[in-house]
């Protein structure tokens, strides 16, 4: 009887914890957790011109894994930093579906990342299983010589909500 009660208690505890811990994680380590551009991919070669290109990351620069019990939404936002300039526009997209049985939708087109949290993509019927190997790509628009020459930094934050 005691054992049955213990098992029921642990099942309940597990359910509660899983409900509370819908999670999104980076699975490709520090490579996925950093996107550094020490040298622009294209330079200005003719006087009178401004930058005309967009910096784009690899298709799977960051690889995410999502775990949830029933449904989930992954949101994205940029931390407001004094070392960033609003002329630099940061975009993110989900360049693939990844692997797993959980449904996944949204986020396949580039969307601008701002200081406000916005829905990126979502999924349904996790049943405790995850969606793995979700490839994330970034791009930065707005490169300009009007920006002071220096290194700009910011942080992208992924958050998950759901059950």
């Amino acid at each position: 009887m005691k054992t049955c009660l213990l098992i029921i208690f642990l099942f309940s505890l597990t359910g509660i914890m899983m409900a509370q811990t819908a999670s999104v994680t980076i699975t490709n380590g520090s490579q996925g957790a950093n996107w550094n551009i020490p040298t622009l991919s294209s330079s200005i070669t003719k006087a009178g011109k401004n930058y005309e290109h967009i910096e784009t990351s690899a298709l799977n620069h960051t690889v995410l894994k999502v775990n949830s019990l029933v449904f989930w939404n992954v949101s994205v936002q940029q931390t407001v930093s004094s070392n960033w300039d609003p002329l630099l526009k940061l975009y993110v997209r989900r360049s693939g579906d990844g692997t797993g049985l959980v449904t996944i939708s949204g986020g396949s087109a580039f969307q601008q990342v701002t200081g406000a949290s916005s829905l990126f993509f979502s999924g349904l019927l996790g049943l405790g299983f995850g969606r793995d190997n979700i490839p994330i790509q970034y791009k930065i628009e707005g490169l300009s010589v009007l920006l002071p020459a220096k290194t700009y930094t910011t942080t992208i934050l992924f958050t998950i909500s759901g059950l």
């Binding site: 999670s23 011109k49 930065i140 930094t153 942080t155």
Partner: protein, 181 residues
């Protein structure tokens, strides 16, 4: 068997606890300094200016000829607190008694400047000593279309010392540089 179930559930609990940190991606992009300057022309880069003899005795030589086919363009990106200037100078020796005047028209075009940037200081006489004529350049790009982008440059000759003027032909080169102040 019961113990296995209990252990499994405990493992599941701790796995759940281990995945609660939201991921963050740190990004950085380095914007470099840029300093590029060039000349465009609506005609030819070789400017010919003539001092013509008067048609009537007693009149001075005529120095009214000018050339306004050159356009100065540039791109600049600087760190905060840094500005640049553009200087012009003559390489070679001007004819005796004659000086070369450079008039700089206000900027036109579809480029863009950082606010409070890129002032034309004054029209200048070009000598062998570099002279500033556009100053306080910060972030800027002028555009690249001759005749509609940049600063139109007008060259003209003036008599500086009538007694020194001699007939003849002289070839000189005008150089422009952009540099940090």
């Amino acid at each position: 068997m019961k113990y296995r179930a209990v252990i499994l559930l405990v493992v599941i609990c701790f796995e759940s606890l281990a995945q609660t940190l939201p991921p963050t991606v740190n990004m950085s992009i380095a914007m470099p300094p840029v300093a590029l300057i060039d000349l465009l022309t609506t005609s030819t880069m070789n400017v010919n200016l003539k001092v013509t003899a008067p048609a009537e005795a007693g009149n001075p030589v005529n120095t009214t000829a000018s050339n306004a086919s050159s356009w100065l363009i540039f791109t600049s990106a600087v760190a905060t607190g840094v500005s640049r200037s553009i200087k012009g100078n003559v390489a070679g020796t001007l004819p005796p008694g004659i000086r070369l005047r450079l008039d700089i028209s206000p900027y036109i075009g579809s480029g863009a400047f950082t606010a409070s940037s890129c002032f034309v200081t004054s029209n200048v006489y070009l000598t062998t000593t570099p002279t500033i004529f556009i100053d306080s350049i910060k972030g800027a790009y002028t555009g690249i279309t001759a005749g509609s982008s940049g600063y139109k440059l007008t060259y003209a000759l003036e008599v500086q010392n009538y007694a020194s003027i001699r007939s003849g032909s002289t070839t000189i080169t005008v150089q422009y540089t952009i540099a940090d102040n």
